[in-house]
């Protein structure tokens, strides 16, 4: 929950800290350690990694927000800044809230112009201490990070036992590493204990996380693919999607490799580009395997042509789009929801695709698996639109569960037996109630053989250039797409007393919007909430929107892409839909949502 910039009461489990580091100096592990320790203390927490598109030397930030009430969207005012990057001192020190604190490396004096009277500076001679205590230069750099972690553990009351436990787990193999880490930790810890008074905000154990895990969306996505039974993965490296395949590869080695033979029940192909990645997915799906690719915006653009082939020839394909900031190369390490329209209508000619919008790693796991069922049932490409924030940041989410009775929905596929029973097989008819016709797989029976083509074809699968025959098939595809509305995840809808406006969003905006909803309600602006989870849109989406005089669509792109899709694909009048757009590339904060809604107060009639 948001606090005004001034008031500073002693606060337990309710504050935000930001750590400013230099990329490639190993700060990630120190920051992760803190985050994980707080998680283990049972306290609601979130960590956002704001890293550059660079391997070494550029500024990088990590934000930790602790909130007993469970508001873990990005906070914009920081109680404590850990300023470890002299390049960005200026910028970072400015960001601390009035009355906040700055922890810095006092091995070198701070330039006077950086001084602020309204914040307290906590100097710890990190470099100095580490130079004295460690020999190797690389080690000194790494341990500096662990040392400031030690200081934070001290000033924030992080449970030291838990921290040591974490080190034990992490370095169970490497004892020496464990020792040097502990040593560095103590350096910072002891120094802080000696020199600093307790801060007006601190941590205290809670019991919120016993049934929760700490996981990033890409790992969860990969896990979903493993559990769905995907056996063919094709990809081309691109930030922020790369870790999906890294994780999938890891899980396949763990769960799909035969201990004796060393054989793996999966093949992961690093393609030469994204055109080939989607081509491989289409080829594999055509051949009956569950196949997927993971990519980001530029990859989706390159896949455009073949996505049309899969749509028109009705071949399943699963695409995990981990969105980043566009257009073009854009900002590869920043987050956005800018591929919605492109994915919905990808490719030339008349096409419409199925989209899923997970809001956190838990849904990434669930929806990733769901993608395959939808792709096979509807014999068409299915996109899961995740993003950098969901995919690469660690989120606290409920433990993942799996129903062992689950069996893949392969959709309509005729086996040899079924083929024997029919007189003659035709690829594109007869259709079922969802306007899907049965496909056959190569290698099963000559009777099922047909010729797959992206050129004009009749409902029997024959080549055609005749308007009526062509149209018959294209019209069915439209109906088929509409039919999928009942099968995509239904929207999450939450109503509040007295609400007359609706606030609507997708994906990772969820925590920020929920926080905003609570604050708005307190301010006498109750609003109903709908989080859309799939396209084509289910009737309930239409009902919700029509049920409110005004709906604010909160999304992370410039052109209101979700709102545009709602305008085109529902019967809702345009004037019922307003936009709240935040697209600078950092994860969403409740503050922006509230501002976005309230700034349009005058433009609609409602509220007392």
């Amino acid at each position: 929950m948001l606090r005004t910039g001034v008031e500073i009461a002693t606060r337990v489990n309710d504050f935000a800290i930001k750590l400013a580091n230099v990329n490639g100096t190993g700060s990630a592990s120190a920051n992760g350690l803190l985050m994980q320790a707080i998680f283990r203390m049972g306290i609601p927490v979130s960590g956002k990694n704001l890293f550059p598109s660079n391997i070494q030397g550029l500024p990088t930030w990590y934000e930790i927000r602790v909130n007993k009430a469970g508001y873990t969207a990005r906070a914009l005012d920081y109680d404590l800044m850990v300023a470890m990057n002299s390049q960005t001192y200026d910028h970072d020190i400015k960001e601390v809230r009035k009355g906040g604190y700055v922890l810095f490396d006092s091995s070198w004096p701070l330039d006077p112009h950086l001084h602020r009277d309204d914040v307290t500076f906590l100097g710890v001679p990190l470099a100095e201490m580490c130079t004295q205590s460690f020999r190797e230069s690389r080690e000194r750099i790494l341990m500096k990070n662990i040392a400031y972690a030690g200081s934070l553990i001290a000033v924030l009351d992080v449970d030291m036992q838990i921290v040591e436990q974490l080190l034990d787990e992490k370095f169970s193999a490497k004892k020496a590493m464990r020792e040097s880490n502990l040593k560095a930790l103590k350096l910072g810890y002891d120094y802080a204990r000696e020199h600093f008074d307790p801060l007006p905000f601190r941590l205290e154990k809670m019991h919120e996380n016993s049934d929760k895990i700490l996981i990033d969306g890409n790992t969860a996505t990969a896990l979903g693919c493993v559990y769905a039974g995907a056996t063919v993965a094709a990809w081309y490296p691109i930030t922020p999607s790369t870790s999906v395949m890294d994780a999938f590869t890891g899980f396949c080695n763990q769960y799909r490799r035969d201990k004796e033979t060393g054989e793996m029940n999966a093949i992961i192909i690093q393609a030469e580009d994204e055109l080939s990645a989607i081509a491989m997915v289409i080829g594999a799906s055509w051949n009956g395997a569950r196949a997927f690719t993971s990519t980001s915006g530029p990859g989706i653009s390159l896949m455009n042509e073949l996505l049309g082939l899969a749509y028109y020839a009705e071949i399943p394909a699963v695409i995990m789009d981990i969105q980043r900031v566009g257009p073009s190369t854009g900002m590869p390490t920043r987050t956005q929801q800018g591929d919605v329209l492109e994915c919905a209508y990808a490719s030339h000619g008349d096409t419409k695709h199925i989209l899923l919008f997970p809001s956190n790693p838990a849904e990434c796991f669930e929806f990733a698996a769901k993608c395959f069922d939808l792709a096979e049932r509807f014999q068409t490409p299915v996109f899961m639109l995740s993003d950098l924030d969901i995919g690469m940041n660690d989120w606290v989410v409920p433990r993942l569960t799996w129903d062992d009775s689950y069996r893949p929905d392969r959709g309509r596929v005729l086996d040899a037996g079924q083929l024997d029973e029919i007189k003659k097989y035709f690829r594109y008819s007869p259709e079922d109630e969802n306007f899907v016709a049965a496909r056959t797989l190569p290698g099963v029976s000559a009777k099922g053989a047909f010729f797959t083509r992206g050129s004009g074809h009749t409902k029997l699968g024959a080549y055609t250039e005749m308007p009526d025959e062509y149209q018959e098939v294209l019209d069915r595809l439209l109906k088929k797409h509409k039919a999928a509305a009942k099968f995509v995840p239904a929207p999450v809808i939450e109503r509040r007393k007295g609400a007359r406006i609706g606030i609507v969003t997708i994906g990772g905006c969820d925590p920020a919007v929920r926080e905003a909803l609570d604050i708005l309600e307190r301010q006498g602006q109750p609003a109903d909430y709908m989080r859309i989870r799939g396209f084509p849109f289910d009737e309930s989406v239409e009902k919700f929107l029509n049920g409110h005089e005004v709906n604010f669509i909160v999304e992370q792109n410039r052109d209101a892409q979700v709102k545009s899709l709602l305008i085109l694909e529902t019967n809702v009048p345009k004037d019922k839909l307003r936009s709240v757009l935040v697209y600078g590339g950092f994860p969403l904060s409740a503050k922006w949502v509230i501002e976005g809604v309230l700034s349009q107060r005058e433009t609609y009639a409602i509220h007392s």
């Binding site: 559990y227 039974g229 063919v232 999966a266 580009d273 594999a284 056959t440 053989a449 010729f451």
Partner: protein, 351 residues
């Protein structure tokens, strides 16, 4: 659209193969290509090769891109699934298809435009991965379906129908294959079935990626005087570096292999490829010698044909990736899903 009423081709011999099938069983629908198009002869050679190898039609996968050449999979083995995909993407789509099901025999048909321009990158990487398939380039030096523009295989000086000469160095799939470590490289001519059929059979038996570059004249746009991909030019300048004998597994002929100066290469599946009439300065197993020989004769304006290079020692994509012998698409779900217990255990790491 009403199909054409040409009388369907007649095959004198109704001889049956090991599966008891006649050559008719390996045919496809009637060709809609121009009368005399080289591609139709390649189709006929493929029909014969599949027939003679007694391949089970439904265990064949026919892959192609877009172009007149890429239309041809409809014209053979109608009992096999076919995929006429997108321009230039066949090699990549085949890679995925093969990844999913290694049990089928894959025949990819492409054109010089499809493979050497828009699809060049995919073909090169298919070579690298050594995916197990027969990859036929029906090479006519032009874009037939789009009415005769030069393709990347057009030779320097070769004239277009309008009389303009091509000026850029050609991309030669054979030379390219040699430089990329291709494991099976052949060149033939649509007009020479005797040479082509055994090469196709060897390619189908090859352990990995088998490129067969077939000069296949486009009678409509590139069969004129001045073209170096015409029937006449090819006939006049074709040099057969060797004759290929394909000896199926466990055939008694095995006995005399290696005798009377013939080079014999045992194939992965137990069959044997025997080279006859190999020149002394040539060895289809020696990349350097092959390159040198080709450069020399290419310099003389000769079109060297034959099974030019063969290496059975390189594992294919599946072997490299240690996948099971059975098709991945056939593995029961139960073996693929770790289940809820494993999930619970795993999540201890996420705390």
């Amino acid at each position: 659209m009403p199909s054409i009423a040409k009388p369907s081709a007649i095959h004198p011999s109704l001889h049956r193969n090991d599966l008891g099938l006649t050559i008719r069983d390996y045919e496809g629908s009637m060709s809609t290509l121009c009368a005399g198009c080289g591609h139709d002869s390649v189709t006929a050679a493929i029909v014969r090769a599949c027939f003679e190898l007694s391949l089970r039609p439904h265990m064949i996968g026919k892959m192609s891109g877009i172009g007149c050449s890429s239309k041809t999979p409809t014209y053979f083995v109608s009992g096999a699934h076919g995929f006429n995909s997108a321009h230039g993407r066949m090699a990549a789509i085949a890679t995925g298809a093969i990844g999913a099901n290694r049990e089928l025999t894959y025949i990819g048909i492409s054109g010089d435009g499809d493979s050497l321009s828009i699809g060049l990158g995919h073909m090169c990487h298919a070579i690298r991965r050594n995916i197990k398939m027969l990859y036929v380039i029906e090479n006519n030096g032009v874009y037939g379906l789009t009415k005769g523009q030069f393709s990347a295989s057009a030779d320097v000086g070769s004239k277009s129908k309008r009389g303009e000469p091509n000026r850029m160095a050609p991309i030669d799939p054979v030379m390219l294959g040699l430089s990329l470590g291709a494991t099976f490289i052949a060149r033939s001519f649509s007009g020479d079935k005797e040479q082509l059929v055994p090469i196709l059979k060897a390619g189908l038996a090859h352990r990995g990626f088998a490129i067969v570059d077939v000069i296949s004249p486009c009678v409509t746009f590139n069969d004129h005087v001045g073209s170096t991909k015409s029937y006449l030019y090819t006939r006049n300048n074709m040099l057969k570096v060797n004759e290929t004998d394909f000896v199926p597994p466990a055939s008694e002929i095995l006995a005399d292999i290696g005798q009377n100066g013939a080079v014999a290469v045992p194939m992965h599946d137990g069959s044997v490829v025997r080279f006859k009439g190999v020149p002394p300065d040539y060895d289809p197993r020696d990349r350097r010698k092959v390159y040198d020989y080709l450069q020399e004769h290419h310099g003389k304006g000769e079109v060297v044909t034959g099974l030019l290079y063969l290496d059975e020692s390189v594992p294919d994509m599946h072997e490299l990736n240690k996948t099971p012998a059975v098709s991945l698409s056939k593995i029961p779900y139960e073996k693929l899903c770790p289940g809820s217990a494993a999930l619970d255990a795993l999540q201890e790491e996420f705390r």
